[in-house]
Each structure stands twice: as structure tokens, then as C-alpha cells.
Symmetry: C2
Subunit: 303 residues, 2 copies
């Protein structure tokens, strides 16, 4: 099933040049997942026409304001819109004592429950699972405990050609054997190779979100082969020293990670407020990893 | 001196049709005052190019989220921009215990102090004063304790024609007498009437902000004769019953208040999310009070 990614904010801490701070919505298998929730996220959701009726989970990478200050407004607006699905906040334990007094004061009549699902940003683990999907943490390196998220479809069964099996008069028992990899021997003794009936499963789709982080090769085994990688690229090469000092990445570093992890596509974002234009970031990244794009507010990506 | 008003948000609780929720900035006498601070206010400030270096006071009308959820992001961004003026939050006492834990967690290295200046929204009182200006509360009628704000220049001295006094050879003592209202008798016995030297003071400019509120005539004596009145007009006449039930006003009610208070101009705002267009609100108000305008995000009004 398609992965659909809506980009709501591509700026970093100080919103500039019409950029909002970090927030995205990933929609797949009839569910929407919000990733980070900066100031203005509810405005962006509505002005971009993104529906929130399938949204039940918000994943917060870390507790810096430019990744979570929009949470109260977003939750409050869901309440006013009579949202009915419960809301699960996947965040670090510090969030609960900060948010609970605000929820109690401003949102005591919500039409849904808010559950705090604490996770440990220092550990690589599966923190969400449903019938179709898992979400894994990707421990990152930043000024405060931070984790990225890997959204990955579960392995699928190979495709079985039921019509062809019927044509050859396969019994239920024989169908099970074909499923298990065996060839089919028909009633008149003909052997039909397994590959005639079975074609490989559709590959598992995946999306890796890595923000905020210094250059960190430890994440490569986790994100290896992801279809799409969003990797922060706060700075260009001219600011490599500043990237190191502030535990952010350059576009070239993001591309190096993408290349070493063999991902399908790299999306850049979390741009420093100093950049009015971003072409140099794209160029620096594409020198290492050609299949790189810039993200912009309102982008709707499908794979 | 000019009053300059920047409109950052004209929507009500649920942002719709590209409208942000309530926030405005009034600039006069080289100081800027923020009035309410909804989600996305910092974005609006930067995208509209409104400088914040003269901003030291934020006035919050009430503690509903669509008037204060942008506060943390705004303060945090001021910190990142190395703002140096201390910040005074004029709000109800409930704000402090809600905001302090967030300030401590997210903004422990601010380059300025944040002071909580509690006020009582049930009392009409002067809550701010400097050399040129006072700010008075305007107790309103809403679901939670709410106050509007009247920004008013202090009375000014009449204009004295120093050149003319010099021409007639007036002594320092005589100048004091002219200031006190007396005519001038010159050395050669000629009597020059006081009105030749003294012209009336420039009128005191003022701005009244009233949001959110049900129709309430008790505010009229406070806002009487204000140059400009912003009065919430969440609903049109067709929704008058809803306005009553939710303790909001219709555009016609806003105009009735403007007319009875004899203000110079009425600005409508705080529009319900149900209205894609606003012309009917304007029309309903102008039938009562012709000098009415609609506010829009990005409006810059000067008087």
C-alpha cells in the first residue's frame, strides 16, 4: 500500500522565509501518523487540507520547542472538531508532567483520550506495531535525547496464483504445499514448478525520519535500504563547524548517510534560518547521493 | 505620535481559510505591545516582517488556547534571537503555574527575564503606565474571565509658539504666565491675547481591543470616544442565538457597541471557522456603524 508523506514544516528553530518548524504526516494503510508537531502545525494541517480523522498517533523525536510547541493547539483543535479516535503521544517521559497540567486546564472536555506512550530514545526498539506496520526508534546524536523513527511495512506473503492452481485441480493440501515452496504434481503425474504459481511478495515499503542529529553512522544498520530517508540538513558545507558544534548535520553529511545506507531517496529539511535559498544544499548533497530532493511546506510525496 | 496596528490572526478557535487565531501588535511611542498570542504567532511576526526588538509587553485577554498557545514558541524564539528587553506578561494569575515549568524546561538560558504581571479581569483598572501611555482593562463577558485592553495616550500639553513669544520679548516669568492661560503684556504695554501663543493640545490617541465577549454595554463608558475599536464579531446575524450561547458577539452587536460608544472606527475580527467569506459580516455591521472595516492577516493600520 502507498506511503503518503505530507511535509508541514521544513525550518529549524527560528521560522524564516515562510518556513514552519518541524512537522510531517505519514499516511498509509488507512492510518495517519504525525511526526513532530511544531508551533503552527494545526494551521498547516488545515490550510493544506490534510485530514486528521485517521490520526491516532504522534511521534515526537525530542523535546526541543521547534518539534513540539504546536502540540497543545493541535490537540485542542482536534477536540473542537469532535475528533473521536484516541490519541497516543509517543514521546520521552519528560513530556507527560509538562503537558498534563495544560491538558487539564485547557482541554478538560476532549472527545477522546490522550495516552502517553513513553519511549527510550537511547535504545533501538519497536515502539509501535499494528497489523501492517511497525515503527522503530533510531537513536540519534543531538543536544538532548533524540530519536528518529523508521516506519516499515511488515513482511508480506508471496503472491499465489489461485486461478492457475484451480486450473491444475490442486487440492487444499497441495495448495498448502505450494505455499511452503514445493512443486505441484498433478493427478496425471505432471510436475509443475513452484515458480509458476508463486511470485515474490511486494517489497516492504519504509520511511526513515532522522531529525535532529549530528552525523552518526550508527544509524546506518537501522535505516539500511529504506525507500525514503528524511535526514536533517540544517547547514551547508560552509557551516560544517557550526553543524558539529550544534549537533546538526550538513546536507553533504545527510547524503553520505543516505549513500552508505543504500536508501532509495533522500529528502533534505530542517533548514537553518540563515538560508533564503536552498539550492546549494541540494547541490552539495547530490554530489554524494544524486537521488536527493529538497522538502518544502505543502509537499505531498507518494511511494 | 502614530498608533500602528499589525493584525496577525483574525480567526477564532479553529483556524480556517488561511486565518490564524488571535494576535495583534500595537506599536506607538517607540514601543511594541503584543495583544494575545495564538499558535503560529511567531511565524506570523517573522513572515510579516514585524520587528520584535521594541517588544517588552504581552497582554493576554483570557486563557483560551486560541489566545495564548503561541506564547512558548514566541518566547523561545525571542531567546534564540538574543532579544534583550525583559518581557512582561500581563495575564491572569492562572498563567504562571502553567507556563513556568515550560519556561524552566525549554528556555532556561533566555537572554532576558520573563515577569508575570497578574491582573484582575473582573476589575476596570490601569495595569500599565509609562511616560506616554496607559493600558486599562475592559472587563468583558465570556465563558472564562476575560478582559479587553484600552491603550491610551496620556493628556498632552497645549502647543506653545516659542518663536512668537521670543519676537515679543517675553521673559521666562511671562512665558510661565502664558502657559497658565494669561495674555502677554509687552514692555511697551501692548496686550497680546493668549490664543495667539497657545493652540490646543493634539488629541490623545487610543485603541480599544475587545475580544472575546458577548454583547456587553457595560464596556461603553470605558471605550467611549476611542479612535479605533477592535470588537470581536465571531458570528453573523443568522447565528445570533449561537453567539448568545457561546458568549460571543455578532458583527451587528459589535457595530452597536461602536455606535453607542462613539468610537472613530470599528475593526471586525475573530471570525467563526464556518465563514469562507466575510462580506455579510461587514454589511451587517455597516448598517449600524458605517465606518467599519474587516481585519485580515497582515493588515497594517496607522492612525
Amino acid at each position: 500500500m502507498d506511503f503518503q508523506l505530507d511535509i508541514l514544516g521544513t525550518g529549524s528553530a527560528v521560522p524564516s522565509y515562510g518556513r514552519f518548524s518541524s512537522s510531517q504526516v505519514l499516511t498509509t494503510h488507512n492510518k495517519s501518523f504525525m511526526i513532530d508537531c511544531a508551533d503552527g502545525t494545526q494551521f498547516q494541517m488545515r490550510s493544506k487540507g490534510i485530514r486528521n480523522n485517521r490520526l491516532g498517533h504522534i511521534f515526537l523525536s525530542h523535546l526541543h520547542g521547534d518539534h513540539c510547541f504546536g502540540l497543545m493547539a493541535f490537540i485542542s483543535t482536534l477536540g473542537m472538531l469532535n475528533h473521536t479516535s484516541d490519541l497516543y503521544l509517543h514521546a520521552q517521559p519528560d513530556l507527560r508532567p509538562l503537558l498534563e497540567p495544560w491538558l487539564k486546564y485547557f482541554c478538560d472536555d476532549l472527545t477522546f483520550h490522550v495516552y502517553f506512550e513513553d519511549y527510550d530514545p537511547l535504545k533501538h526498539a519497536v515502539i509501535y506495531e499494528d497489523r501492517s506496520l511497525t515503527v522503530e526508534t533510531i537513536p540519534l546524536v543531538h543536544g538532548v535525547p533524540t530519536s528518529g523513527f523508521l516506519f516499515k511495512e511488515k513482511p508480506k506473503a508471496p503472491h499465489l496464483d489461485g486461478e492457475l492452481l484451480k486450473f491444475y485441480g490442486a487440492t487444499l493440501h497441495q495448495i498448502q504445499e505450494v505455499k511452503a515452496g514445493k512443486d505441484l504434481v498433478t493427478a496425471d503425474g505432471k510436475c509443475i514448478p513452484n515458480a509458476r504459481f508463486v511470485t515474490p511478495a511486494t517489497p516492504q515499503k519504509s520511511y526513515a525520519y532522522c531529525s535532529d542529529t549530528a552525523y552518526c553512522e550508527r544509524i546506518i544498520p537501522i535505516i539500511e535500504g529504506a525507500d525514503v530517508l528524511f535526514h536533517e540538513s540544517t547547514f551547508g558545507e560552509a557551516e560544517a563547524a557550526r553543524a558539529r558544534a550544534t549537533k546538526h548535520s550538513t546536507a553533504r553529511q545527510a547524503a553520505t548517510i543516505a549513500q552508505k545506507a543504500g536508501v532509495g531517496q533522500l529528502i533534505l529539511g530542517h533548514y537553518s534560518a540563515r538560508y533564503a535559498t536552498l539550492e546549494h544544499l541540494l547541490q552539495e548533497a547530490q554530489e554524494i547521493f544524486p537521488n536527493t530532493i529538497l522538502s518544502h511546506e505543502g509537499d505531498h510525496l507518494v511511494w
